[in-house]
Amino acid sequence: MQHTPVNFGSTRAAYIQGAKDALSIPALILGSTYMGFGALVSETGLEVWHALISTAVNWAIPGQIATMELYAINASLFAIAAAVGLINCRLMPMTIVLMPFIRNKTTPKIVYYFMSNFIAVTGWAAAMKLCPKLPEEQRLPYFTGFVIPLWSICMLATFVGYHLPGVLPAEVTMGLVFLNPVYFMLVFLADFTQPGRPTALILGAILGPLTFLFTPNWSLLITGLVAGTIAFLISEHRFKKAQSS
């Protein structure tokens, strides 16, 4: 991945730029999604604390919605662990892929173990786009500056959304929840041309819903491994071809 380098001048400026980038469209859209999530929790009959704790320590909306849905139908703790674990298994490859682009030599490891809690699609996509272009010491600050304000806004939005049902029609709650996958889809379409990505994205988008029809729980794991491996083999083959010619 070769990019034109970007330099904000200082780590402080990188934090600020991260916050600026987060506190525009990402915060607006993810904040709206979390309002929808807050409303959903309130309709489930749980307390506002449950909604806030979910956003705080279970950060990443698909797993949060699944947890609430499963709890609402009285699923066992084991069923919840299995389903949420399989939905969120993507976080491991996402973390592995992001780490080399936010790591630096001086930051203690414990910081990464803490910050990994904030890895989710929006912040991940933003960091994957910009961090490889930044000087090493500005990368983690940019990511931190991006995700902490974003998460704070979403905590607030969860709280506000919890108090919305009854104020907002149910259709609007649906619209708020719908914002999220549509936003993610467009974020990936916007950076679609990065090498190696289109095949993985297209195959994943086809296989994801298809496998879900047969095995909802294992669908994502199968999708990731099968579509990812095929995309990998295709791009390696192309790479070797380009090298030999």
Binding site: L28, G36, E47, W49, H50, I53, V57, W59, P62, I65, T67, I80, A81, V84, G85, I87, N88, R90, L91, M92, P93, T95, I96, V97, M99, P100, K109, S116, N117, I119, A170, E171, M174, G175, L176, V177, F178, L179, P181, V182, Y183, F184, M185, L186, A190, G196, L201, G204, G208, P209, T211, F212, S219, L220, G224, A227, G228, T229, A231, F232
Partner: protein
Amino acid sequence: MNGLDSFLSSDFMAPMAALGVAAAVTYFWRGLGVAVSGKMDKDSAIFRWVTCVAYALLAGLIARMILLPIGPLAELGLEQRAGATIISLAVFFLTRKNLLAGVTAGAVALVLMARLGPL
């Protein structure tokens, strides 16, 4: 009942167990990702494979969330969600990849269709 008692009631604690379990399995993947990444060279073939798997997983999840959602969106028909998605894509490309315009158009279309039925 004072404030502390209400936190210890089963109405409060039973969902907490679910949230705790969800948070633990979620963090497990992130923590494991950090641990594994230290041992992986970013120029290696296995790293490129993991990257492909990550993008495939994300695309699979997003497509599934739109086409076969769990949660409140499941109450709508597939044609309503697909219709709103197509409108969102159309506006996104017509506005030269304006994220805000694309997302807003999709959500507004969905709300209208949920209210008025499919267009």
